[in-house]
């Protein structure tokens, strides 16, 4: 029987929180992919979303605020055979960790990044997150939000992510399928997950989203995939994804915006010049000789430093 990926830790999110739907979608996706629990690692940042690794029965690191991406990248590049999922908050990814978010788009290490997007910093009592619109005044704010919002979809596209999607925490069927596709994607993927914060965000509620979301895949002509051999379609599909990414308001698209399978992952790039990178990655290399001393021939490795 497939592993169910649920840990026995009591979940302490607020009743009605969108996080529950995301957690269920993750465990179902992992289960349906029939992955071995030792081969999947989750890393998170700080906040409500940061607790996710503890609720998954796989190895997990609840890292520092905003730093889940570099931790995840280190794990992935040291052992490219592991699947690394990165549940994080909108503040984590687009505020304090925005630099890492952009850098990871350039790397394309093969991480599955899930942005728990509820427009507020929940665990510190509802301050505005980077995804909240200018002028919005949720009940926890002393005055209307003075910042404009960042668009996770178009930012991810511009940063170079090869897979960009959006899900809705109350549509677990669609979200689960997106997560599955993202985990199988060789490069890094971003899934912006719309979710209510019932405690602090009284504007973007479950009902508010339900009235607006629609699925890209309902349009049978929507095809975000760029497969090897079709590199020429990349520009056009990127443009369409970007246009759809800008859609917000009465209608909000969900589904896969962009799925480019032709951009080499960072591990593939490393494999070009690090010897035996896939078969003998850093994580599993033997670093000592049979006598317990270094096997590295320092003079042969640094031969240019020798004066004869």
């Amino acid at each position: 029987m497939a592993h169910n990926f649920k840990s026995d830790i009591a979940v302490d999110w607020c009743p009605g929180c969108g996080d529950f739907g995301i957690l269920t979608s993750i465990t179902q996706a992992l289960s349906e992919l029939n992955l071995d629990p030792k081969d999947v690692i989750s890393t998170s940042g700080i906040g409500c979303s940061g607790k996710t690794p503890h609720y998954l029965n796989i190895a997990g690191v609840h890292t520092l605020h905003g730093r889940s991406i570099p931790f995840a990248t280190g794990i992935k590049l040291s052992n490219p055979h592991l699947k690394v999922i990165v549940p994080g908050g909108d503040g984590d990814m687009l505020g304090i960790g925005a630099g890492h978010f952009v850098a990871e788009g350039r790397r394309n290490s093969g991480l599955t990044i899930m942005i728990f997007d509820n427009e507020v910093y929940g665990l510190t009592k509802g301050q505005a997150a980077p995804t909240m619109a200018l002028g919005e005044k949720t009940k926890s704010l002393a005055r209307a939000n003075v910042f404009t919002k960042v668009n996770p979809i178009t930012l991810a596209l511009t940063a170079g992510y090869s897979f960009v999607a959006r899900g809705f925490s109350f549509d677990m069927k669609q979200l689960k399928e997106i997560i599955k596709t993202a985990i199988l994607h060789e490069g890094s993927s971003v899934i912006d997950i719309l979710q209510p914060c019932p405690t602090y965000n009284n504007i973007n509620t479950m009902e508010w989203y339900r009235e607006r979301v629609y699925k890209l895949e309902d349009d049978k002509s929507w095809d975000p995939i760029i497969a090897p051999g079709n590199e020429a379609q990349a520009e056009e599909k990127f443009r369409k994804a970007y246009e759809k990414g800008n859609e917000w308001g009465d209608r909000i698209p969900t589904g896969i915006f962009y799925d480019n399978r032709t951009i080499p992952s960072f591990h593939k790039r490393l494999n070009e010049f690090v010897p035996n990178y896939y078969t003998n990655p850093p994580a599993t290399q033997i670093v000592t000789g049979s006598d317990g001393y270094t096997p590295v021939d320092v003079e042969a490795t640094f031969s240019e430093k020798i004066i004869h």
């Binding site: 830790i9 629990p37 030792k38 081969d39 690692i41 700080i46 690794p53 503890h54 029965n57 190895a59 690191v61 609840h62 890292t63 520092l64 730093r67 991406i69 570099p70 931790f71 990248t73 280190g74 794990i75 590049l77 040291s78 052992n79 592991l82 630099g99 890492h100 850098a103 490393l270 010049f273 690090v274 010897p275 035996n276 990178y277 003998n280 990655p281 850093p282 994580a283 599993t284 290399q285 033997i286 670093v287 000592t288 000789g289 049979s290 317990g292 001393y293 270094t294 096997p295 590295v296 021939d297 320092v298 003079e299 042969a300 490795t301 640094f302 430093k305 020798i306 004066i307 004869h308």
Partner: protein, 632 residues
Amino acid sequence: MDLSLTIGGPQGGGIDTSSNMINRAFAEAGYNVFGVREYHSNIKGRHSYNHLRVKEERPRSLKYPVDILVALDPDTIFEHIEDIGEGTKIIYDKSFETSDLAQARLIMRDTAKRIKETLDSASLPNNIKGALELAKKKGGIPMSIPFGEVVTTAISEGPASRYFNTLGSAITLSIAGLEQKFAEAAIKQVFSSKPKAVEDNVKVVAAAYNYALENGMAGEKLKVLPKKKRLLITGNDGSTMGKLMGGLRFQTYYPITPASDESTLMEEHENLQYIQAEKNKLKEGGVVVVQTEDEISAVTMAQGAALTGSRSSTATSGPGFSLMAEGISFAGMDEVPLVITVYQRGGPSTGLPTRNGQSDLLYAMFAGHGEFPRMVISSGDVEECVYDAMSALNYAHRYQLPVIHLIDKNLANTTDFVPDIDLKKVKVNQAVRPTSTRLSFKRYNLDTENGISEMGYFGNDVFWMTGDEHDEIGHVTEDPVVRDRQMRKRFRKLETALNEIPLEDMVQLLGDKKAEITFVTWGSQKGPILDVIEDLKKEGINANLLYLKMFEPFPSDFVKEVLGKAKMVINVESNMLAQAARILKLNTGIDIEHNILKYNGRHMTEDEILEAAKEIIKGEGKKLVEVLENGA
């Protein structure tokens, strides 16, 4: 044979090539050269120089005044006027004689102002002629050479100035009495991959030797010593080599001077060569080096790699190290084996970005919020960089904590001839992975006497990690009892380390045990002080050195024992606050009264330490702090 020289010119003007040539030419004749590179935070144009010392035995310090000053631009003469003494030969291009101080726009304004004041007070004009007059008053010997004309006798095409660095070096070698064939052999090594450059530069060498001979500059023929194989490496190189020998397979970095040379050298050598005995047994492998978006990413990405079982590290300097503080606290809390190599430069803030300093010791000891165990070690010469980098990785793995390895900029940019790197000096322990998956693995098992819980590996074991206080499998806990037990478990590791690590890897008493004077130091002053001890001996003063290598955990018992018996103690550091002395006092309660300190960003030289030490000894405790100011 004890030759000191400085070769200076504009940054990007081939100073390093010159030094490399001088190094290799003396190496060909069997001599040893020790050098330090000084440069501005600038790509092209501002003054840079290499300060070198040549001896039969290995030099371990530098000194002023120099015997030869090679000026590849007028700025060098102005900048190094203070380094000239009795008999200093000043080699320069005749065309510089028309240069004016006011034209030397790339000399820092304050420096130019000070040079002006020096010339004015000697009633000399503010130009090269004035500077050379002053040099003569100090006993210097100006040697005007028509650089362009000499080069043109050998090479007729292209700008002659391209060969000025070779010319200057070759004249220097000729003055030193080194045979021409050695200079030519050096040229072949320096320009190895470019046959045309070898051909042209060899011609310039010949022209230089001819010129020196014809003009009575050539020195008496130098004795040729037996040639030996050696490695010509810097502190940066040593750390890179040690890390790779020590099993490092994952390194992260963000570009910063003077740390990134280590990582870029590693990128160049990512394909590791194994010794013959292991070639057929081990699968070929490499090191992954990642240039990150910032140092926060560097310190956290390296930890991610460590969690899978890789030996991993990052290298940085002050400003980058500041960004790493939160990540270091995580590594302490979560017991992540991580090495952080900190190349110290002059701070605070951007400070003196390309200059020496030892002002990050206190920060290395305390960086990161909360209380957690760490180890802090320091290297004092190029070979120590190799073995300490290996040990740092071992400590990180054995004790599962962040290990901070301090190397000062002076040492990072020291070039030294190392006779041999001993592959069997430091053992390398392989991480032992379990054969089966361990679910809900007790990564933070409290049932451990030495504080060390068994390591878990992502990809093998299922457990959790969190910056929050945690239970044995790594889930968040705020339980007061578990909190206390985890805190005590983490800190027990330091007691274990103190018991297990050989004393000589933490602290050494060098020289006569019963000396009247005991110097205390750390880092790159080690070599100069050992030379000063020999100088003092000639004057009938018996001194020794308490050389500190590990600050956390601190070998308090040994230090107390040594200093308890010492008659007069002089602490020597490249900072303003005598930081090592503060750590020493914190651990032992002993107050060191005398300090020789330097914080102008330049390397400490043998002569100035000697002079300051004699001042202190003579003053019998009247003057407590001597501040050194040598260096352009």
